[in-house]
Subunit: 365 residues, 2 copies
């Protein structure tokens, strides 16, 4: 049994093998465009009352595991490494794992899912329940504490909107990455800002505050150096890191920067509205409440120019039932809770999990 003092976990007993009277641990992996996080949680007994704070037995961080970005071998190695490290930190082993949910960016097709499943099957025995999703699903679950319902909007380096209905239908919009029109993403915003600097320099576009601000941020002496800087390193996150500069310029009244952010708002709102429309998340009368989980650096509300607020306003004009959720836990925990949630819903089978039975009643968001 884990022991808490003043709400803090002070002791794990046997790495999750005897927590809350249930054996084993669950793993959640969030593989984003820049890093991969794995958390190891104990199995919980009661779906309606999760401990607060959640007892994270182990947590590990590694590099990017998007196979589109780093290649298959590197992605597989990163996933294996981060899982083993989280288990070690939890004082646990692969044998103790009951369920794992990998939510990895770059998983866009059943073939991608199957590929990641193949990698992970080699790590665990057949008794482990394995789920592979796009990383957007972990983000949604981090807002709904494991339940797949509603819509998530992510805008970090990349952007995507993903939604699920109570009865398991799903839909996504966006998430095509830099080549395929991800204009509301951090990458998209920053690339448009860099383009605006180039256009201002060569005379195609108006002068903009972005020029001085971006050159200063990058330590460059002239716009001529921008093309060289851009292609010197193809990492998407390096471009996306310029978003705060764009927001600052917009807050200072720069028209070009404002226009770029407004276009990003429009793109992202369209992504969410498309998912809502396709899944009828708003109900027949278009006013039913549904959560919109907001995740990613672009949607953080620490700026005067609040991109997330503008997006929600646009969505609510069409679907007034949309209510924003800013997750209190990280996406990797969302993935772990989802793994647990899916395990808890399963009918009791002779699948090695016979020691425990959890109600399939759904937890409320």
């Amino acid at each position: 049994m884990s022991k808490y003092e003043n709400g803090e976990l002070v002791q794990n007993i046997e790495g999750g093998r005897e927590i809350n009277g249930f054996g084993g641990v669950i793993l959640g992996v969030d593989g984003g465009a820049t890093s991969t996080v794995c958390v190891c949680l104990p199995l919980f007994s009661d779906p309606a009352s999760l401990p607060d704070p959640l007892p994270v037995l182990g947590r590990a961080v590694a590099g990017c595991s998007n196979h589109n970005s780093v290649g298959e071998a590197a992605a597989r190695d990163t996933l294996e490494q981060v899982i083993d490290e989280a288990l070690t930190k939890a004082g646990s082993t692969r044998d103790a794992v009951r369920a794992v949910c990998l939510a990895v960016s770059g998983v866009n097709h059943p073939k991608d899912q199957e590929r990641v499943l193949t990698w992970i099957r080699k790590m665990f025995t057949g008794h482990v329940k394995m789920h592979v999703y796009n990383d957007a699903v972990a983000a949604l679950a981090s807002g709904t504490m494991g339940k797949l319902h509603g819509c998530v909007l992510i805008s970090g380096t990349g952007s995507i909107s993903y939604g699920f209905t109570q009865d398991g239908q799903e839909a996504r919009a966006g998430g095509g990455g830099p080549v395929l029109g991800d204009w509301g993403s951090g990458y998209g915003i920053a690339a448009q800002a860099l383009t605006a600097v180039l256009r201002a320099q060569d005379g195609r576009g108006p002068k903009t505050m972005l020029t001085d601000s971006i050159l200063r941020a990058l330590g460059l002496s002239s716009s001529d150096e921008l093309i060289g800087w851009t292609y010197a390193d193809p990492a998407w996150a390096r471009i996306a890191a310029l978003v705060p500069v764009v927001v600052s310029c917009a807050e200072a009244g720069d028209e070009t920067a404002n226009k770029i952010l407004m276009e990003a708002v429009e793109e992202l709102a369209v992504c969410v509205k498309t998912v809502v429309r396709r899944l009828h998340l708003c109900g027949e009368d278009r006013t039913s409440p549904f959560p919109v989980v907001l995740v990613g650096g672009v949607l953080e509300a620490n700026n005067k120019w609040d991109i997330a607020k503008e997006i929600i306003n646009r969505i609510r004009r069409e679907y007034p039932g949309a209510y924003p959720i800013r997750p209190k836990v990280e996406p990797a925990i969302g993935a772990a809770l989802l793994a647990w949630y899916l395990l808890a819903r399963e009918p009791l089978e002779g699948n090695g999990c016979t020691r425990w039975q959890i109600s399939s009643q759904e937890s409320t968001v």
Copy 2:
């Protein structure tokens, strides 16, 4: 002396070392986004009357030499290899070279120019006149037969507009590559088409003929596979190769494809008009004639949907003196003619070229 029979070069004597009574050869290199071409020409005596056809002593082709795309080492090796191969084919040697013009994509800044110059200086003695430009300059010279005047518009895998005045001022617009808003390029057109397929699939955009046409062209069975296909290989030219599919769909009346092409026309016309305005190529009354050299697969006039014609129409609405030139020689020959042209304009110096003197009078286009 070269010998011609029925207009065909049948014999070079001593690899250019004794042609038209002048010693040595000139090299022109066109380093585009997909391949690098080097040609070796003899020195010509009379700037006003170039032989027709031009006596190409040697020609070699190699891969991409854009350091932004393939890295510095590979770019340098490619340039060295293609130059030596052209000289060998011409039966000539590095010692016979009097001038070389390298026009290479990715040269966007004096630093880029200096880097390429450093590579090439190691190949030749100090007597060789060396010039490094963006590859757009070779394209311009291929339309003007070596003279730097007017404007060139290139749209192949990438796009750029470049212009020169008679007195040596220059300006460029566009040419930022895929990340920096090169929307009129083959890459830009194709990336927007792929994006349109994704938007049609996830419900953000209208259905389009592009979906079936692109999936068929790529041998994919569903739009779900597009993201994986896109990032499986980062080569820009692979994306750009889809332009003919977009043109076919536009010709068949697809609105989305038509819109993409019209936006490309607008982007490219703006590039040219910006250069014309900055250099006052149109004269005081905005009606002076100036050439617009059109180069690249996107601007080829073999389609019903004639992108180049639409662009020229837009330019002429503002600058009626703009007249299109479709080069009769390839850009590498343009680069060689430019090397020759710059050499011919030089005042006679004690620079090892004392055997010959060419009038600095400019040739007419």
